[in-house]
């Protein structure tokens, strides 16, 4: 199955295709983001930027597992200085990922970038940063408040959700109430590996988040559940590595997708997926979004 290409209107953005770079993957520098755009991505989400510069967790920060990656980067970021990185990206479809410890911090960071970013994505979902990410994102009231704080600035505001909750639709609905333009699902699944030789968790932060192929079925389920409960568009993320995965996510209810881990081995995966995904005799994308709910 293939779909027709064309401008993708989603969550207040107009993208050249359905394939975006996920937050935190090769998103620390402007030139890296530009490289990914040159590799065929329809849009790029930056590394999550916070109210203060942060060096992240001690290493190891990433380790490969069977079928996935486990990471606990700890949200390293240059904070406001990231403005410098965005200069080479002026006019490009760049979504700035933001984290903060409360609604005010989210708004502060957003206001710094209101002139340079095309949209915001709120990281309410990182599972391994005490006081940030999922620490807020598991509480629907805080999700609503943080979303509200940013969406009121008037730029498209995407909210990225964590799968590590009993009911992801409660958080999706809270973001919708807060004025989100789109939901992004999912961030990593809380996980751990232990080095039996060193007798300690592999990651410096002990607990981390699982990404990659292993979590694809979890991501599809989350997108499917959100599609049943929310009206704003959903951007699917988690374990996508082929055009078939993109179609599957779209049938679950995603209007576009983000790709993270799979970029590691092949930064130009965007171009190769697009080649497999689009065809002039394909079906219109709108006809397949959510079609598995029939």
């Amino acid at each position: 199955m293939r779909i027709t290409s064309g401008t993708v209107l989603v969550g207040g953005m107009a993208l050249s295709n359905h394939l975006l770079l996920a937050a935190g993957v090769l998103g620390t520098t402007g030139s890296s983001l530009a490289r990914i755009l040159a590799c065929g991505a329809g849009g790029v989400v930056t590394k999550s930027i916070g109210p203060y510069p942060c060096e992240g967790h001690p290493g190891p920060c990433v380790v490969e597992t069977e079928g996935g990656l486990l990471n606990a980067m700890g949200l390293p970021n240059p904070s406001r200085e990231f403005e410098g990185e965005l200069q080479v990206l002026a006019g490009k479809p760049v979504i700035l990922s933001i984290y903060g410890g409360n609604p005010d911090e989210f708004r502060t960071v957003a206001s710094w970038f209101a002139g340079t970013a095309a949209a915001f994505e709120l990281n309410l979902s990182c599972p391994h940063a005490a006081g940030y990410g999922a620490a807020l994102g598991t509480d629907p009231d805080l999700v609503e408040a943080c979303t509200q704080a940013v969406s009121s600035l008037g730029l498209p505001t995407w909210v990225k959700l964590t799968p590590n909750v009993t009911d992801i639709t409660l958080c999706g609905k809270a973001a919708e109430r807060g004025g989100a333009s789109a939901l992004v699902a999912i961030n990593t699944v809380k996980a751990m590996r232990i080095s039996t030789e060193l007798k300690r968790p592999v990651l410096g932060n002990r607990v981390g988040g699982l990404s990659g192929k292993s979590i694809f079925p979890v991501a599809v389920r989350c997108v499917y559940e959100l599609y049943e409960s929310c009206r704003i568009p959903i951007i699917g993320c988690g374990g996508i590595s082929s055009a078939g995965d993109v179609i599957e996510m779209m049938m679950a209810g995603a209007s576009a997708v983000q790709i993270g881990t799979a970029v590691k081995d092949y930064p130009c995966i965007f171009r190769s997926i697009a080649t497999d995904l689009y065809s002039s005799d394909g079906v219109p994308p709108d006809t397949i979004v959510g079609c598995a709910h029939g």
């Binding site: 590394k47 060096e55 992240g56 290493g59 190891p60 920060c61 990433v62 390293p76 240059p78 590691k264």
Partner: protein
């Protein structure tokens, strides 16, 4: 980049996982540099690096100086903690990662300080015809006796305590650069920048290979912390060895980024 000239030693490793190795010996190479030998070793190509975990402290990138050794200069917390270990202690290793140097005979190698570590295997396998080596002082010259047995060596020291007085670039003037098939370089950023300028002026940038250092967190090309401007190449995955001409208009020698991603002047 170059076909396989050097046999691969040791067992292949599950690159993805964190593997424990046991320190078997610690050798004081210079007042600030120690070589840590460990078991088991594994197959690698000269110029590749590993991510080394000092349990409970941090993980840092280190070039392999042999299939079972790293050679470390003490500079801060993690290297300091490494200097506290003893034979019998465990380290974690991920890797080897990165591309390594092309393996060609007729190589001119240029090493500054602990930059001799990744170049050592090239020399020991007879690929290096001539080695220019620099250090701050005579007693900081790394691997000198061993290397001198395998290749002709020219020395420079910042304080003139051995060889030519001044930076290693000073030695370059005496060298018929175009006679070498390739030029492999590793050392401090400023030194590499100076070397590259000289090589470029001699029209040799395209035949030179520089091993870069950038802040590395993942080592496998996913996190983005080691990317260089202006093309966003990843030092850990697309490097750490890059051809000189591809670095001519890069951030090399100008700035680098710290753990948070903030730029700092070199």
């Amino acid at each position: 980049m170059g076909s396989l000239r050097i046999p691969l030693w040791g067992a292949p490793m599950d690159k993805g996982a964190l593997q424990a190795v046991r320190i078997t010996a610690i050798t004081q190479e210079t007042p600030t540099v120690r070589t840590f030998s460990f078991f088991p070793g594994f197959s690698f190509r000269p110029g590749q690096f590993v991510m080394v975990t000092i349990p409970g402290v941090d993980e840092i990138p280190m070039a392999l100086s042999r299939s079972d050794t790293i050679t470390v200069q003490r500079v801060g917390d993690a290297t300091g903690a490494l200097f506290q270990t003893r034979p019998g202690d465990l380290l974690g290793i991920r890797g080897p990662f990165g591309n390594g140097f092309p393996e060609q005979e007729g190589t001119l190698a240029i090493a500054g300080g602990v930059g001799a570590a990744p170049l050592r295997p090239l020399v020991m396998h007879g690929l290096v015809e001539c080695l220019l080596i620099g250090a701050r002082t005579a007693d900081e010259l790394l691997f000198l006796p061993e290397l001198t047995q395998k290749t002709s060596v020219l020395v420079a020291t910042d304080d003139g305590s051995s060889g030519v007085h001044g930076p290693v670039t000073g030695l370059l003037k005496e060298i018929p650069l175009s006679e070498y098939r390739q030029i492999c370089v590793c050392g401090p950023e400023k030194m590499m920048q100076a070397v590259l300028q000289t090589l470029d002026a001699a029209g040799m940038a395209g035949k030179s290979y520089l091993s870069l250092h950038r802040y590395m967190k993942c080592g496998i090309g996913v996190c983005g912390s080691c990317c260089i401007d202006p093309d966003g190449r990843r030092v850990c995955r697309d490097g750490p060895v890059f051809s000189g001409d591809s670095l001519l208009h890069s951030e090399l020698g100008k700035y680098t980024r710290d753990a948070s991603g903030r730029r700092k002047t070199v």
